[in-house]
């Protein structure tokens, strides 16, 4: 039986990579909560995960020529997703679209889901160690 470490951990490594990138994006939104004309950005996590699982599916626009215009987004390994703009519920007068409460709750949620992935991988490592030791 062939053993593949990448498959053993399932979607969690890609999930953690994407979650850490999303943490950065949300952190930037919170840091710019008072910046005039700043537009809050986020990614469609579900879509990005699907893209990571099916690399041949519909993803981001590829730039194959130096004069192609980049759409802007995240590209890491088999992950590629575009950055979207958040729709503000209450637009502010200075053009800023950050709702700091929403961003904070998203950031915390993202951190907890990251932690969940860490726990799943830890459990997997523990069971693998049990299998290796054979005790």
């Amino acid at each position: 039986m062939r053993f593949d470490l990448d498959k053993a951990f399932g979607i969690h490594p890609s999930g953690m990579l994407l979650r850490s990138k999303r943490a950065e994006l949300l952190a930037n939104n919170i840091a710019n909560a008072d910046t005039p004309n700043f537009k809050a950005r986020d990614i469609d996590f579900k879509k990005a995960m699907q893209q990571a699982l099916e690399p041949n599916g519909v993803g981001q626009l590829k730039t194959t020529h130096s004069k192609h215009i980049k759409t802007g987004g995240i590209e890491m390994g088999n992950l590629s997703t575009e950055l979207l703009y958040r729709n503000p519920l209450q637009p502010s007068i200075d053009g800023n679209t950050v709702d700091s409460h929403l961003e904070k709750s998203e950031f915390t949620q993202n951190a907890i889901q990251y932690q969940a992935s860490v726990n799943f991988v830890t459990g997997k490592i523990k069971s693998l160690l049990t299998a290796i030791k054979g005790e």
Binding site: M16, S20, E24, N32, T35, L83, Q115, V118, V121, T122
Partner: protein, 136 residues
Amino acid sequence: MSLFNVFDIAGSGMSAQMLRLNTTASNLANADSVSKNENDTYRSKQAVFATLKNDFENESGAGVKVTAIVESSAPLKQKYLPDHPMANEEGYVFMPNVNPVEEMANMISASRAYQSNVEMMNTSKQMLLGTLRLGE
């Protein structure tokens, strides 16, 4: 590693909010500084925030920075106090255009934003430490 960037972003946010808090402190401290003529009078100072970009291709920003500290162009307050030692020939003294209510609101906003940045840094620290302990 994206999680390390969170530290830079939160750090830039904290430093920008601290600068804003400093200008607020300066404005409130000088709220009653009178002077003889219009040019020497203290004017309310305000920090201007802008998004920091790390490079052109990566559209997501890398924090916040203070690009300038501008002086308010609001009209100065003039008070008729002929007995005041700083009064001019017509008996007026000039007061700064600081609005204490506005400054108090600014102060609270800056301190709350600072707190958000600290919490964000703490959360990402927990995330990183959790990753370091992976498999334990």
